[in-house]
Symmetry: C2
Subunit: 215 residues, 2 copies
Amino acid sequence: MTSARPAPTRLRILIEASRLFAIRGYHGTSTRDIAGAVGIQQPSLYKHFATKHEILAALLDEDLGPALARIRAAVAADGQVAVRLHAFVVGDIAAVLSLPYDVRGLYNDDVLQLPELAAQARSRARLHAATADLVRLGVEAGEFVAEEPEFVQGAITGLLLEVVREQGPEPAADPRTPATRVADFVLRSVLADPRRMPEVRAASATLAARIERAG
Amino acid sequence: MTSARPAPTRLRILIEASRLFAIRGYHGTSTRDIAGAVGIQQPSLYKHFATKHEILAALLDEDLGPALARIRAAVAADGQVAVRLHAFVVGDIAAVLSLPYDVRGLYNDDVLQLPELAAQARSRARLHAATADLVRLGVEAGEFVAEEPEFVQGAITGLLLEVVREQGPEPAADPRTPATRVADFVLRSVLADPRRMPEVRAASATLAARIERAG
DNA sequence: CCCGAAGGCTATCGATTGATAGCCTTCGGG
DNA sequence: CCCGAAGGCTATCAATCGATAGCCTTCGGG
């Protein structure tokens, strides 16, 4: 084993902290709140995390790391850009919805501007830049309408946050349904030729299945 | 005059508080921070607002009141639903972008769940419900694809927040350009017949002009 | 059998929080 | 001319914040 499996307490801290951050915000949640939700005393938190913001950083890292890997794979892959973008959006949103954490409190400006989380803010900027790059490929190839890639990336981000917001704290039982709804919504709007939608959806589904088999 | 014009200090408190809430969040902003940005001492704030959350409530009220009036007018109006929805989205986003306040920190869950802001949370729920109603009209009339109205409403909300986030603290010099971009994005995705887009855009523009003349 | 690390606990710290008390100046209406 | 409201100010409060010190128990490897 390269790493010891994390103590269950550490995981419970992350889960409960993420829920409290979602409801009351990072600054509105005290370390005593978190400890109380976990069922331990406040100083015991510091046996697992050196500071409060380290809890937040761990949550962001667990979300951002895989997301960056997914978007990079989508940018580097070949095939139609519309299919790659659709499959990425479905996979990304499904992954976020499947996390045991409540990510609603993680991506607010007030939290990503903390100086201690500069590394996570940079990761998020890279994620956004790579997403915009993928959109730009589609625009340049003539697959998409001539829309600013950064605006489309922002739209994807906004839709993801909105879906997460609707869902609430529990991991989704069926994450691919809302995820596909978002991907369809985005591609209906960006596709230069809307008649391609059925074909794009089908190709995205088989691409997703191929990725899942590859693990 | 039915009401005395608000003292400039009160307005400056609202402006500076909104910017700080956007950057650090409501809970992350102290009353001393706000007072310092305004250039007064912390206890002087309480000559204008009885509590900290009253500042937040005033900001939300100034945004939600007009927004509710706009969506209700759009639901009650007659004409094609696509045109009404397009014009509402353009007008709503342009209005938010024209505010002297930075609204980025106002619509986070952590703030709307405060028990002291229950009234504002209800207003926002009504705004969302009315928006979904308008979308539902379009779906039932066959103008829109068969998408869940609540999802489309959420998408509009998410896109609005994303545009506001990109823009930053200053009121927009040209609010209608990004506003129209969002409205176009949404309607391209919802319109059952995408070929109607040019016609919808044109009718929306003349409708907006008529509303502006009416004041 | 023991010993040290892991992970709980209580007690406590200094800093910061939102809010109040009370004083002083400005200024417009009677 | 004055007087009271408006709106600043200083000083201060109790509560709460994140974090540290130090003690005790559990438990797995040698």
